[in-house]
């Protein structure tokens, strides 16, 4: 502290009084003082590298690129995950609709024979209906053809 001048006047005087009487302490002080000078001169004389300013500004640009690259990468990954999630949801919903439709169709297919079996003579009834439907269709077709033919004969005269 005495060497660095970091003591008050009173303490300084006491130390100087002691130094005047103690050669050992004087020697030690001299050694420390010499070491202090060596240390100061060793580092104050060093050459400062050139173009540190350019390197710093280059470092600033690199850091900015690095930051933006990470930001862009994070955004892309986030967007990609969101897209994937929405695709999975759509796929899951579509799959669910398909499964439901398939289940309904399968149910109907399995149910048809059962329905047919519960009503007595159901097959006979259905057959009669089909025959009647075809007969009606033929009658109407014949009437249509007959009507169209009469019209032609009158136009010709």
């Amino acid at each position: 502290m005495y060497l660095d001048g970091e003591i008050d006047e009173q303490e300084k005087n006491k130390i100087e009084e002691h130094l005047a009487l103690c050669p050992e302490c004087r020697q030690k002080l001299q050694e420390l003082s010499s070491m202090k000078e060596q240390l100061t001169s060793a580092f104050t004389m060093i050459e400062i590298p050139d173009r540190i300013e350019d390197k710093v500004l280059s470092g600033i640009r690199q850091a900015a690129i690095h930051k933006y690259t990470w930001a862009a990468l994070t955004f892309m990954i986030g967007f990609g995950l969101l897209f994937l999630l929405s695709m999975i949801q759509i796929f899951t919903a579509g799959l669910h609709i398909f499964q439901t439709t398939f289940s309904i169709s399968r149910g109907l297919i399995y149910a048809f024979p059962s329905i047919m079996g519960t009503i007595p003579n159901m097959i006979v009834v259905v057959s009669i209906f089909i025959v009647m439907f075809i007969t009606m269709a033929l009658i109407m077709l014949r009437y249509l053809v007959h009507t169209m033919g009469k019209k032609l004969r009158v136009e010709d005269i």
Binding site: M1, T40, F43, I48, P49, I52, E53, V56, I60
Partner: protein
Amino acid sequence: MDWIKAQGLKIVVNDLHELIIRAKKGDQIAFRQLVTAYKGSVFRHAFALLNDRMEAEDVTQEAFVKAYYSLAQLKNEYAFVSWLTRVVTNLCYDKNKKLAKKKAMAAEELNENVSEKGPSPIDHTLMNMSIKEALQKIPIDHRNVLILREIQGYSYAEISELLHIPLGTVKSRISAAREGLKKELQKG
């Protein structure tokens, strides 16, 4: 106005304050001028701590880049220098840990090849240590406070505030650093 010598230029404190304010707003020209003003002090500090020019240059560059991106968070422009010194200290401490690991690994490999008889007489001449090398032998905490006092010119109170350590710790570390340095020089 107070005058400060920085890199051989006399720069007015108010001008530095102005530069810092402009640099905070993203003015790269102002920041470049700040780098010019403080590069010597920063490099000297880093070199004294690490005793390696390349590493010191890396730390200097990294410190200023960090300072650029953290400048907006600096509340008091007048605290720029102490804040920058803290950044350099932390970077050097990290570098020192990495270098110590590398040296330990290299030493392990070397020990396998060294003769059991010990170093040759020629090696003794290499053991006469310079003060820079002797400085590297003392613990980095002690080294740092000694550098801040002897090379950077900070007072004990300023070092205490800078490193967030009690004043008593600063005094004991400087004393221990000087004793340690003296012993290392005497060994050489």
